[in-house]
């Protein structure tokens, strides 16, 4: 235990299951939690939709809300939850020195404008001129910023006044891993004292589904547990809207301001494993083994449902004596937010001194001990891997 240990002092999470850390704990610590699903709007794709959110509770100015598309609003809202939970919301001095690491997607395009261009393209051949004509006249000028990757962080600065620094990582699940890994490493090395880190993903937009489906990653027609995805129905991923933000601090910094941490974050491991070589499972085992040899160990898995990586991860978890909880069964795949969400759920189990009951009673085993440490994993549906050990602070 040392002064520069990295501790988690604030959690903000949102998913189809509800708003905030407490709501998630209440739901997930009871047996038999059921997914919230939207089977119609994006059929044949099932998604886990956002719950109802009163944005103004975290983004009071209507003008600010209007400057963001849903993804940015969701992230800014959830960052507010984390700051509030950490007792930092409205603390001007501490927010002004607070660093920020955001994992961002983007690209919430104007569906109506795009469709109008696609339709018009069928009757004319001068597509490039068509693009100029439509985009110059139809695009809302502020849309560019409202869906631009680094503007989630920008909006967090504007709304919550977090202005120490602002770094945006991109690249699907790996961006969420890098954001936490970098934030934790900076704190450990004394390069930062407190960091807001997290991500948001809003799947309820056709382009968000299109990106997965360009490589056939989605499961169609019906929901099933992340451990029982059917290759007859597609690639195995079912997506969800959600977000996770954490306040990370050095132990010394949290003690100075008298905050009781949820948990501590040990080393964060990340990798770019060659998937074609067929060694994904073995390499994941090396990563997991480097973090903890404990058996049994509770593992909060961010498995996406994509067939190959999900099977590789699952077989590693089984081989190494993990009691696994695959939260994507209940929340859907949260893309950039997947790893921050896994770490948040792990920290809640540590704080409450209790493991989650199984999320899938056919494919997960009970864990009755009080967890002293919890493994959080995220294996990207297409690339990149990350893990960390969350332990009692």
């Amino acid at each position: 235990m040392g002064a520069s240990d990295v501790v988690i002092t604030g959690i903000g999470i949102v998913s189809s299951l509800g708003l905030g850390a407490d709501a998630h704990w209440q739901t997930l610590s009871q047996s038999g939690a059921e997914p919230s699903l939207e089977p119609e709007r994006f059929a044949p794709y099932v998604v886990h939709p956002l719950p109802e959110i009163d944005w103004s509770t975290q983004i009071p100015k209507r003008g600010d809300q209007r400057q963001m598309e849903t993804w940015q609003r969701l992230g800014t809202y959830t960052a507010g939850l984390a700051l509030e939970d950490a007792g930092l919301k409205g603390d001007e001095a501490l927010c002004a020195t607070m660093d920020m690491a955001v994992a961002a997607g983007g690209g919430e395009r104007d569906v109506a404008v795009d469709q109008a261009i696609l339709d018009a393209s069928l009757t004319r051949g001068d597509h490039d001129v068509l693009l100029n004509e439509k985009l110059t006249t139809e695009l809302r000028p502020t849309l560019f910023l409202a869906q631009l990757s680094n503007l989630l962080a920008g909006n967090i600065s504007i709304v919550h006044k977090v202005t120490g620094s602002s770094r945006t990582f991109m690249g699907e699940e790996g961006a969420g891993v890098s954001a936490i890994e970098t934030a934790a490493a900076r704190i450990r090395a004394g390069q930062s004292s407190h960091v807001l880190v997290g991500a948001a993903f809003q799947t309820e937009h056709p382009d968000m589904l299109l990106a997965y489906e360009l490589a056939g990653y989605l499961q169609r027609e019906e929901w099933s547990s992340v451990w029982e995805r059917s290759s007859a129905l597609g690639g195995g991923v079912i997506t969800g809207s959600g977000a996770a933000f954490l306040v990370l601090e050095s132990r010394a910094h949290s003690q100075e301001r008298g905050r009781e941490p949820y948990a501590a974050i040990g080393p964060v491991l990340s990798a770019r494993i060659q998937r074609r070589s067929g060694t994904l499972s073995e390499r994941l085992e090396e990563m997991s083994g480097a973090l903890s040899q404990r058996r049994p160990l509770l593992a909060i898995s961010g498995a996406s449902g994509a067939h190959m990586p999900t099977q590789a991860e699952r077989s590693m978890l089984d081989r190494t004596g993990k009691a696994v909880r695959g939260f994507s069964s209940l929340t859907g795949h949260l893309k950039e937010a997947q790893f921050p969400f896994a770490v948040a759920l792990a920290a809640l189990a540590i704080r409450n001194g209790q493991a989650y009951p199984v999320f899938d009673d056919r494919n997960e085993q009970p864990f009755d001990e009080t967890p002293a440490e919890v493994l959080a994993t995220t294996v990207g549906y297409h690339c990149f891997e990350g893990m960390c050990l969350v332990a009692k602070a």
Partner: protein, 422 residues
Amino acid sequence: MKTTDSFGRPLVAVTGMGVVTSLGQGKSDNWKALTEGRSGIHSITRFPTDYLATTIAGTVDFLPESSRGASLLTFTLADLATEEAVAEAGLPLSDFGGPLFLAAPPVELDWHHRLALYARSKREGDWRSLIEAARQANEGALFDETQFACIAGRLAEKYGTLGLPITLSTACASGATAIQLGMEAIRRGECDRALAIGADGSATAEALIRFSLLSALSTQNEPPEKASKPFSKDRDGFVLAEGSGALVLESLESALSRGAEIIGLMRGCGEKADDFHRTRSKPDGSPAIGAVRAALADAGMSEDEIEYINAHGTSTPENDKMEHLSLSTVFGERMRELPISSNKSMIGHTLSAAGAVEAVFSLMTMREEVIPPTINYENPDPAIELDVVPNVRREAEVATVLSNSFGFGGQNTCLVMAREAV
């Protein structure tokens, strides 16, 4: 030689650099053009300019990939700069042995590909037919365009960088942030070297229109090479451009021990976010001032020790005014005499690449003892009293440089570089 700084941290050297801009491929061609005061800005030929208010750009048009979409061009630009940098550093081209930090634009599925997919679909007037066509097509290249991790993944594979390659975006400060992340990793002792790249090949019609709708671009289309005029009274916006810069960052100790040539040192970096507005800076300039001061403090240097400033200098009315205000606050009266020039007067604004491209040029300025000019400086803004090294290069011994990067979303990142270790 001492290999740690005044804070006891490993000093970070630069041992290899590569660059591509509209002026050409490689340091040699770029430096010749820059020091001759030549502009790379030209009329757009990549796509038709009907309906567009701005018809000029600093696109990189001389590569086979130039017309094949933003994602592929961004990769190619990064690849070419990296190859030059790694070769200069004398490191193996396929086994870099350190982490990768890539500043890249958030690119989306190219419109040509979206239209082609739709043409193949059932065309039922709904996005569903587009997704169904995408699923049927199952084309890896199209999928790659939608995955932000893809470009860095390919570079990591090719150059043998270690670990999960990081892709980042801090808007127009991205290139500087990539360098900063590399410096910090070396200072933490996580690695002996890091590859920092900024690349941007995203000057599509839609990108141009988006910036145009924000009134950010110059519309002085004739003649194109005169449009970018930082610090001039009649400046009216930036010129959208493409390019890439790559730097091999290495702990000085590691560089010396393998006998590598030291091009210069990354002495400090600093940042400060702005909470005022999405595209405008706080009127008092305090975030930019904070970023400059943080970079100086990180370098363990005082204002007096900076000998040249590589400006952000976008040629927008707002940026140049605020940059002047911020620098005058930090450097005081001395700011009137301290040389400052904007590479963007010649290469335009290379967006995600700018911080890295301009770091390469800053290091060359020290090494070659020549300050590239700010061209098109014919009508000085009387409210901005600066020595912008107007129109013609200046021979000067420069030991230290401050390079500024300020971006949309309140991103402010500054780098301090030095010629020598002490």
